[in-house]
Symmetry: C2
Subunit: 110 residues, 2 copies
């Protein structure tokens, strides 16, 4: 390839991209969607807030697995908790999540 043109293209494209830190953060954000247990947890929460043991039953996994994954979801601000007596009720943080979810679904159902 013509050497100068190559360099120009690289520079031009680079200049349009968000900075690297932002893109690393973005990857971390999407990483959360990239696990089937977490996806199923989020999907269950579209319907209503749920306690940990309900979620565990719905997705068919150990309570401790679900707890661990809920922590991941909390750390990325995808869910929030509300304590009520012995139980913790989880719900979705905002509606972005459902939109992203639906777009992914559209893509794979094509």
């Amino acid at each position: 390839m013509a050497h100068e043109e190559h360099k120009d293209i690289v520079q031009e494209v680079k200049s349009t991209m968000p900075d690297t830190d932002t893109l690393f953060e973005l990857a971390d954000f999407f990483k959360v969607f990239g696990d089937s247990t977490r996806i199923r947890i989020m999907c269950a929460l579209f319907e209503r807030e749920l306690s940990v043991c309900c979620i565990a039953d719905i997705v068919g996994m150990e309570q401790s697995t679900v707890s661990h994954q809920l922590r991941v979801l909390r750390q990325e601000n995808l869910v929030k908790v509300r304590r009520d007596g012995k139980q913790s009720y989880y719900s979705l943080e905002d509606e972005h999540i459902q939109k992203i979810f639906e777009m992914g679904l559209e893509h794979i159902l094509e």
Copy 2:
């Protein structure tokens, strides 16, 4: 928790969820977005089609790393290739991808 109510909730929520296979596929789809190298490749491709070596320069990684990741992107139908002489030019498969990307960006910039 009241045992019957718990069971009812589990059944009710389960009935609203897409089937498990679909959710596994969805997780696999998002998995692709969950790596910074791939995110940066996709981001570069928003601007224009690019050869492998241009992409390698833009993201600052080995040619072989980029080739491997492009294969992952191809397998999930996120990019397509066009061969022109010695070079392979990659471009995005559709605009869903950019929309999903932008929604993720919105979320993390909040």
